[in-house]
């Protein structure tokens, strides 16, 4: 679905143009065309391929979707895949934005994503001194918008981790904790598999040999990569913490089990002693003098409860009870 198709000159909007007219504007050389698609049909992509002269392999990747984040050079144009990640009902949903950038055009195709990028275009149109840097600035602006949307996800994960940490050392809801740790790990990994290849890809747009389109905007891409580094190191920290937390959880479970065992053992001992005394005087020997004593029974009761109590005190002191 076509969303926008606009020609820009010196950072200012020239006109909304027709799809048919794209190739004319692209050939003029003094302006550039910025087209935004959403969940484009093969036919639309084919039309765009024709108008912009896109490389067959890039178009094939874009129409198939489910690519890794990447930036590929085809002659003097770039094909870039970035991933948008959105949280719907405690699940991370991964969508994709495919961006074709040439000397005189930018074509973006958003797939499987609810959030649009209209704000990026609006902001760019308000900053003509930046927009006049051309298509590579648009590429930067789109990437920056995508990456900025990762931060709240990472923040949410960090909060979740902190909430879980407090619960690990309490004794309740252990089963729930481990399930939530596991779910958090999955989310971290989903985001990491989006961020890590993008980090490599953006790294090719500044520093050493850089595609000629991006030569003048290197500092911007270094900035994007820096944001990705920050996200990546936060994710690594969470991941590392989860691993430790699972280990610690196991230790805590073992410790608690040990405590329950000790308490069980202590009570078992106390009742075993009681039962032993009772069994003793429940025997049917003819000649058991204490049974005939007048105060035999109270004495027996005293003995039973005092041995029990002595044991109880001892276990209490040892920390078993």
């Amino acid at each position: 679905m076509l969303i926008n198709c606009v020609a820009y000159k010196d950072g200012h909007k020239l006109a909304d143009i027709d799809v048919e007219a794209i190739s004319d504007y692209v050939e003029r050389g003094d302006c550039f065309v910025w087209v935004a698609l959403r969940d484009a049909e093969p036919a639309e992509l084919a039309k765009m391929q024709e108008e912009f002269g896109l490389h067959a392999l890039a178009v094939e990747d874009a129409s198939r979707g489910h690519q890794r984040p990447k930036i590929e050079e085809y002659g003097d144009s770039l094909f870039s895949v970035v991933k948008v990640v959105e949280q719907h009902n405690d699940e991370l949903v991964v969508g994709e934005v495919d961006i074709f950038v040439g000397p005189n055009y930018v074509l973006s195709n958003r797939q499987n994503s609810r959030q649009d990028f209209l704000g990026v275009r609006a902001r760019a149109e308000h900053e003509p001194h930046l927009l006049k840097q051309g298509p590579s600035f648009v590429l930067y602006a789109l990437m920056d918008a995508v990456v900025d949307r990762y931060f709240p996800l990472v923040d949410a994960m960090e909060s979740e981790m902190e909430a879980l940490e407090e619960r690990i050392f309490s004794k309740s809801a252990q089963r729930d904790n481990i399930e939530r740790l596991y779910a958090l790990k999955r989310k971290v990994m989903t985001l990491r598999h989006v961020v890590t290849p993008m980090l490599d890809a953006v790294g090719k747009l500044h520093g050493g040999r850089v595609p000629s389109i991006c030569d003048a905007t290197q500092d911007y891409f270094r900035d994007v990569q820096d944001h990705l580094f920050r996200i990546s190191s936060s994710l690594d920290a969470i991941r590392d913490t989860i691993v430790t937390a699972i280990q610690v959880h196991l230790s805590m479970v073992a410790l608690e089990e040990g405590e329950v065992n000790k308490r069980l053992a202590a009570w078992a001992a106390i009742f075993a002693v009681l039962t032993a005394w009772a069994g003793l005087w429940g025997m049917n020997f003819k000649s058991m003098p204490e049974l005939d004593w007048k105060y035999g029974y109270p004495m027996a009761l005293t003995l039973m409860f005092s041995t029990s109590y002595a044991l109880y005190r001892r276990f209490r002191k040892a920390g078993w009870l």
Copy 2:
């Protein structure tokens, strides 16, 4: 076993040719020969070595089989080993395709694999504008076909992983879960040991210094490598998830054991109290006044069951029962 032996010119089939005639066509220089073998005998390979002038070490590797995936340069020709992986009855079976590529020929030998590559040839013959790029395009087409067959395997592994994840947190079939996690890990490792070296090998066919044969088809090989990257990162994700799942599994088992222990302890306590009361009044002291009371027995029963019930309530509240 010889499957096909065809000469092509400008992307179009010239003729099915005789093995004897191969060297003539190879020497013509305006066409190329594409030979497909299957589980070739040493004699067949020797014949091919003679016709194509293959390098002795490459032929030795091909006749021995069980090589690592690799791409080796011998002068201006390439020797490439790729692995085909097929699922037979819940087992991954690894076969091999050895591909010799020279300026004017492609020779492939498929070993220990049920699936053929006739479709690759058919598709290539329908796209003469691509096929006329020569032997390196055929190499790409074969590799692409091999790699495309990895995707359904990875998808199946991901589904299996998801199925297992749901079961880890349920209490049933723990032993089966751990066996299936282990089996899945093995499969992931089998595929990884096929994909990782291939990733390195294909990386040599685009980017920096590239064998001269593949110079014009670099973008295709970058595409293959990109697919391999995608597979590789999916495999890494599954592998990482399995490791966590095994840890979590251990925690779940420990948790469940702890719960069983607590329940056991609770019931043991309840019955220990009952038994202690019964033991008390089972003693044979002469003078135990309560034994002679009229409502001694009902009173005793009430006491026994009310202490039991009080304990039961308390354990219930503590979550032990």
Copy 3:
């Protein structure tokens, strides 16, 4: 908030100058200006940007804060972010110092940090032979001060680790130990996430291609990096030790549980034997000759206690009791 604004010439203080006058001094070329800010407001930063001609992206990073440690080149000037870490009540608090360095100026902005850097300026002013090396020496002096403050944190972590190690092998306070190990791990990770990127960043200031400003002061930055390496390897050692300690802790808990189990089993056995004897003679069979014996009861007691004692000795020998 402006803290200082001073111009230096040949290592000696020229004058405290007005913010307005900064650009005049910067343009003179024979002196340099060193400005220190604290938690600067956007307006202050904008003023500084104008006076020093700072790059927009760098200023944006500085005003947003929460950057990774980094050193970025913008033309012939540097933008550097270093992190200060302070311990407040058993928590590590991470602040930030943003440093802009140009051929004739240094501008530092300290954020979220209690400790000032007045000492750095004082020391520098007492060593004019060093200070006359210009802005890059100031950059070094600030970095060195920041890094020197990491050492006591690392020392405290090492002491904590040693204290914990002694406690792991004792039987007490296991739950507390594991909590403290976990908390220590968090601290180590916090510091590591500050040190590691800084290590990479400082590495760019000596050795290979070096920003021209730092050319003459390379040895100083090598020294800073060397300190960071030392901290980093200490942190790695602590981290590695914590991982092992958690594993060992789990082993110790399992061992102790095993010992409790054995003791429980031993006592249970002893009482089970007693109870069995008592049960035997508590049966109501008419004809049980031993019940009528004169010394039946003492004999029974002897038997009961001697079997118990024999068991006790045996368990003692086996190390269960």
Copy 4:
């Protein structure tokens, strides 16, 4: 001990020569000398050093033994250490072959190894077209022979691993399994510590800058390295599998313990109920009407066994019994 000392020209044996004559042949320039030693005495090595003009450090390494696998250049000659690994009685024994290669000579010294390399010489002498490539071909042939002897060891380890995998999931012989896993891990590590440095070393003999002696035989060394890669990745796979197997083993032990615990708990419950009933009617209250009923006893028995049976059925259904 001297084993052979032969001069070769154009790939054909010239003559068995005297040790004294070595230097004469080495200086001729149109032939090369291939000497094989075994567990050479210092005196023999000193003699060889003199005849061949070997470097002092290399000779010192060779006489001390216990080197890491390595290939070192000394001027235009090479000193190579490779490790031979042999299985004696379920133990891996590591021996060493030190090889000195110069433009006109090869000197090998085999230490602490039972297997000889006579076959290598025999085969080389039967292939003069290969042998005439000179000393570097001999180096290749020796290395290839050494590496080929690693494969059966790896195969044996893989078989052992497969045998162990089947046993982990059975309930028997757990202690033996874990001991065998541990022993296997040791073997894998022994071989890995032989293979990994050799991989690095051989990598220097092909590809980038190559010692001039090996220039013409690069493809052969690439082949050796490829074999080493194959072994190395097999070893990594086994090692990875062992780690998982130990984890899984622990899970299996915990699971089995849990099952035993449940069964124990179930039986304990059944007997506790029985004992409670018996205790009830063993009390000595005067007025317990059911004791006087005619069918009191059979009724009691029925009650006791039916409650027990009901519990038994319930535990059976829950999978505890």
Copy 5:
């Protein structure tokens, strides 16, 4: 404390010289000065800095101590820190040797180390053909002596590891084993943190770009690095083994616990049966015909012991007893 101060020419000792005279000899250019200090005071170091013209940063590092092993270039001189490790009472004590090397001098300062390096000087003076290679040979000789002292430590660790391995699979002294494994891990890590940075540092003295002082002695430093590699890979092997051993230990503890549990369960079952029988016949029902039988009691005893024995046999067969 000054230990020696000697001037050498052409590998032969010229004279023991005065500290004051050092600068004269250093300036002569045809000889070199080798000074050895021990735990030098700041004043001594300042004196040396003056005589030799040492770099301020290097002297500062040397006077502070506790540096990482490193080799740093300051103009045409080197500053090298190596660590000496000594075993005192089952503890590893880490000392330090700081070595300053210039074209005409070597200055070593040993700190916190009991062992001296007099032997190195003695040996060097007996080999003038080597010593005449100048200060870089002395640097090599000192490093070689330091590294040679690591080997017995590694050997002791390997022996300790082997001793521990045999004990893990026995059932005794589990707590002691885990403590010793932990202590061994600490020692391995101490040595590793000494060896790893030294490996990197020495690597800069041979191969690619080498400080001009060491140009002629590269092969020696390659030899030192090779020794360090050997030590490093041994340490890695021990470390890896310890990790596995701790895991295995946990498995063994769990296994043993499982066995104790089973035995406990078996005995509990046997006595529960006995107690149940006794409870049955201890009930006070009026009409219990078997109680009145003449052989009721012997029959009961027979029943009790035969059921117990049957259970005993069954548990024995199942391996629980």
